[in-house]
Amino acid sequence: MITRDDIAHLARLSRLALSDEELDHLAPQLDQIISAVAQVQEVAAEGIPPTSHATGLANVFRDDEPRPCLTPEQALRGAPAVELQRFKVPRILVEEG
C-alpha cells in the first residue's frame, strides 16, 4: 500500500510542488496503478536477460567533425531570463540555517 506520505516524498524527489488537494487526489490513483503494474512480478523470469532497447544497437558513433551550431542568440531566445549572454537562474546553493 502506497501511503499519502510516500506520494509526498515521491513528489519531492520529482521536483513537483503539489498542493494538498493534488496529493489527496493522486495518492489513491498511484496506489491503484502500482498495484496493477506489480503483476509483472508473477512472471517467471529467472535467467531472462533484461531488454532496455529493442534494436540491439550499441555504441553508435559518427565522425567527430566540427559543424555549424546554434548562435548564442538562438540558444537563449527561449530563456525565461538572460544576463550577459547566459541563462540567468535563481541561486542554486542555499546556506544551511
Binding site: 493522486l26 509483472v40 531472462i48 534494436t55 544497437l57 553508435v60 535563481p90
Partner: protein, 497 residues
Amino acid sequence: MGRELTRKTATELAAAVTAGDVSAVEVAQAHLDQIAAVDDRVRAFLHVATGEALAQARAVDEKRARGESLGPLAGVPVAVKDLFATAGLPTTCGSKILSGWVPPYESTITARLRAADAVVLGKTNMDEFAMGSSTENSGYGPSHNPWDLDKVPGGSSGGSAAAVAAFEAPLSLGTDTGGSIRQPAAVCGIVGTKPTYGGSSRYGVVAFASSLDTPGPFGRNVRDTALLHQVMSGHDPMDATSINAPVPPVVEAAAHGDVSGMTIGVVSELAGDGYQSGVMSRFAEAVEVLQGLGAKVVEVSCPHFKYALPAYYLIAPSEVSSNLARFDGMRYGLRAGTGSAEEVMAATRAAGFGAEAKRRIMLGTYALSSGYYDAYYGKAQQVRTLIIRDFEAAFSQVDVLVSPATPTTAFDIGERADDPMAMYLADLCTIPSNLAGNAALSVPVGLAPENGLPVGLQVMAPPLADDRLYRVAAAVEAAFDSRRGHPLLDEAKGLGA
C-alpha cells in the same frame, strides 16, 4: 473547387501539382479554408501556420515555374503533431510548460517533408508530452472525433488523426510510443502506422519514452500513408538509435495488395473480456476477407502479451521521469515561483505539467527508486525480453500477426478522463509492438453495428518488414471499398453531411 481539392488523395494532389493542373497555393488555400470552416468544432490544430504554409506553397509553385523537378509530396499539405521541433513555429507538446516556445532548430522528419516539397499546415493537438489515449490530457483542451464530436479522437496523436479524418489535411505526422498512432487512426477511421523502431528518426522529436517513441504517418488510404512513410523514413546520423538499412519497399507493397500465399496469425491473447462485440465482429469479418483473398489463417499464442500493459506502465513512466527532468524552468519554457532554484523548479513543474504527466513522473520515480528497482523496472525489462521472444516464435510460423487495433470504438469525452487505469486499456493491443520495436499499422475495417463508429484492424510485422503491413492493408482496403462502393469516411457525419 476547394471541397474537391480537400477530397483528393495525397497521391493525386502531388501528381496534379507536378503536372501543373493545380497550384500548390490553391491546394494549401483549400485546406486552410477547410480548417477555418470546421476546426472550431474539431479542434485538431493548436497552431495554424497560414502565412508560412502559403509561402512554402508559393516556393513550390516557383520551383516548378523555373522548370525544376518537384519532390514526391509536391504541394501536399501535411499536419504535424506538436512535438516535432519546427524552426519558427511554436512547439508545445500539448503542455502549458512549453506555452509559446519556438524551437531554434528543425526535426529531421519535418526537414525531409519540406525537402520533398510538402507544405506544413500547422501543429496538431495531442495529449501532453504524448501521454494519453484521448487528447484530454492536452493543456489546451481536447480534440473532437469527426465521426461524433462528443467522442474522443483517440490519442496521443488525436489532433493529427482528427485533422485527416475531417479533410483538413490529406496526411499528418504522429508518434507512437504505446499506440499513439494506431489507436487514434482506428477510432477516426483512417490509416496509421508505427514503423519499425529506429526506422524513422527521433531527432527533433521531443522525447517521451526514448526506447519506445516511433514517429509515423497517418493518411486516409493505404497508398498515401505508405508515401508519407517512405518520405519520412531512413537512416539519420543525428539519431543514434536510427537503423542504417534501406527503407522497406512500402509504396510498392501498397500498390500490390496481394495476400495470396501469405500466412496470417490471429493472436489469441488479444480478444476476450473487455473487447466490444462490434469490434470483434468486424475483426472476424476482416479475417474472413483475408482468407477469401488466399491467405492462410492460423491461430497463434503469445502468452506474455497479458503482461505487456503492466510492463509498459513501468518502462514508459521510468523513461518519462528521466526525460521530463529537463523541463525545470531554467533554460526555456515556463518559469514560476520564487526562492531557490530548487523551489522554482518544483513550482514551475507543478504549474506547468498536467495531472497525467505528474502521475507518470511519480510512477517512474517510484519504479526506479532504490529498493524497488529490481522488483519493478528490472522485472519489466525481463518481461520485455519475453514479449520479444513471443513475437519471434510467432513470426517463425507466420508472415504477419493481426488483432483488433483497439478493444473498443471511440469513447465519450470525459468518460475516462480521471480514471487512468481505464484510459490505459485503450492501448491493450498496440503496446506489445512498441516493447518489441516491430512494425504495425491500423487500417479501417468498417463500423461497429451497435454505434456506427469505426473499427481498425491491427497488422503486425517483424522489424524492417514494414512492407508486409501495406500489402495486407491494401488488400483489406480494396476488398472493403469495393464491397461498400465508397470510402468509409464518406459515412462520417459528425460535421454534417
